[in-house]
């Protein structure tokens, strides 16, 4: 197929565009120059590293190696979900919520697609599983961290409203319903917007990549549609999961609001 292979010289030429950015920062005294260069360096190192690792993994085609890479990806995403919200649940609660949500929703949706729409042979073919999980994680991570942040930052604000309902005999699920609803909505909205804008405002990355790689645009579009549906479902599950788990951590079996399980707000930032 007509894939244009990139040489080192091609990349160096492209790097001049980064320098333009850095130069603008310098001229406007934005103080971002160092940050831009550092980010560009990270991109180069990280992507080349991933490329080489995947080349090895694909060549080995060993299930255990695939599983190891997937576990590492899930772990890093879970850490990100836990770290993004400003507020922290006591007892490593953020890590629990992040880990459970990311692992469950990603594995569930990935398995679903690998056994229905895609069906590679074998179903754990690293070329499909790793790529699929990689795409999924982006959306899952965003949805889960937004929902978790929304729950944790909203709980102090909604405290009086929730306790008023609890005091009148409402169960926790009912008292938390407005906050959970708002949090899940905040988690899902980006992926819904992404679906609505796909093809008009932006050409999605996967489709662009496949078109450049020589695929028929309509075939590429079908792939993209499948992925969009997948991402929508995954973000929905992730937002729900994160909000629900956060609610569980903030309440107990006697239907109490347990703000003592939310660490005191940090003064910085």
């Amino acid at each position: 197929m007509g894939v244009i292979s990139l040489s080192i010289a091609d990349l160096l030429t492209a790097a001049s565009l980064v320098l333009v950015s850095a130069l603008i920062s310098l001229l406007l005294r934005m103080g971002l120059g160092r940050q831009v260069l550092w980010a560009a360096t990270r991109t180069v190192v990280q992507l080349l590293l991933v490329g080489h690792i995947l080349r090895v993994v694909f060549a080995q085609d060993a299930p255990w190696l695939t599983a190891l890479v997937l576990a590492l990806m899930l772990g890093l995403a879970a850490r990100e979900v836990a770290a993004r919200p400003r507020e922290r649940l006591a007892g490593r609660g953020n890590a629990w919520v992040g880990g459970l949500t990311v692992a469950c929703t990603t594995v569930l949706t990935a398995l679903f697609v690998l056994h229905t729409a895609l069906r590679p042979d074998p179903w754990y073919d690293p070329r499909y599983t790793i790529a699929l999980v990689g795409i999924l994680l982006g959306s899952v991570l965003n949805a889960a961290s937004l929902a978790l942040d929304s729950m944790l930052s909203g709980i102090r604000r909604e405290r009086a409203a929730i306790e008023a309902q609890l005091a009148l005999g409402a169960p926790v699920g009912q008292a938390f319903a407005p906050l959970v609803r708002a949090s899940v909505r905040r988690g899902i909205v980006p992926s819904v917007n992404q679906m609505a804008a796909a093809g008009i405002i932006t050409l999605p990355g996967i489709m662009t990549g496949q078109i450049i790689a020589g695929m028929d645009p309509v075939e590429a579009a079908k792939y993209q549609i499948l992925l969009m549906f997948l991402l929508c479902g995954a973000s929905g599950l992730a937002a729900m999961g994160a909000a629900w788990l956060a609610m569980r951590r903030l309440t107990d079996t006697r239907d109490r609001l347990r703000l003592d399980r939310l660490l005191p707000e940090r003064g910085d930032a």
């Binding site: 405290r159 009086a160 409203a161 929730i162 306790e163 008023a164 309902q165 609890l166 005091a167 009148l168 005999g169 409402a170 169960p171 008292a175 407005p178 107990d252 006697r254 239907d255 109490r256 609001l257 347990r258």
Partner: protein, 217 residues
């Protein structure tokens, strides 16, 4: 004492060594139609006691409602019968109406508490502190709970509104409800309560008791 006599003597609400970090083990009972007033300085643990009774904070000990153990029922079921009314009520909707499931009963109650019936159609933030306090109280009274745990129910009210609220509380007592009343107002405690208690640093001690014949009047 025979078993029958014991069950008929069972008080409406009984606390058995209810305690938490800010409350020393507290044992007391409230009979049907009885009001118990808790006085004491701010921060002494008066609200802590009410929240403990309502099971809103973790703690130890047991509470009984008509010989039914709190631990034997689900917490929401307990709180529907033993209702805690915060000093500053919380609101889960920006309109007043959604807080009242039965609009007609609510209008009648608002009228008795000296609130215009159209307050039901107002926004919560448009209401004054005193109006919100009475709305919060009305919300709890309309549930007709067995026990009312009231945290300074008239703190933001003028004399007329206070009298209306007290009349409504007397009506609840006459129906056989029990009331634990936290108040800074000694004369209000004397007007409503059968027994007065003092809270100091989480320790509840008896202050005074109304003469028995007065209690039956």
């Amino acid at each position: 004492m025979s078993e029958h006599a014991e069950s008929s003597n069972e008080p409406l609400l009984r606390l058995d060594a209810l305690a938490c970090a800010r409350l020393a083990p507290t044992t007391l009972s409230v009979a049907a139609g009885q009001c118990l007033a808790v006085l004491g300085p701010s921060g002494a643990g008066k609200s802590v006691l009410l929240r403990q009774i309502a099971d809103l904070d973790p703690g130890t000990g047991e509470a009984w409602l008509r010989a039914q153990a709190r631990s034997a029922m689900r917490a929401p079921q307990w709180r529907r019968q033993v209702v805690y009314c915060q000093a500053e009520a919380g609101w889960w909707h920006e309109h007043v109406a959604p807080h009242f499931p039965d609009a007609d009963a609510a209008r009648a109650m608002l009228a008795r508490l000296g609130l215009a019936p159209d307050k039901l159609d107002a926004m919560v933030h448009e209401c004054s502190t005193g109006e919100r306090q009475r709305l919060g109280l009305a919300r709890a009274l309309l549930l007709q709970p067995a026990v009312l745990l009231l945290d300074e129910p008239t703190a933001a009210l003028d004399a007329d509104s206070t009298a209306r609220v007290e009349a409504e509380l007397r009506a609840a007592l006459a129906r056989g409800a029990g009331i634990v009343l936290v108040t800074h107002n000694e004369s209000q405690a004397r007007r409503l309560a059968d027994t007065g208690w003092h809270m100091q640093a989480g320790v509840l001690s008896p202050l005074w008791q109304r003469r028995p014949e007065a209690a039956w009047a």
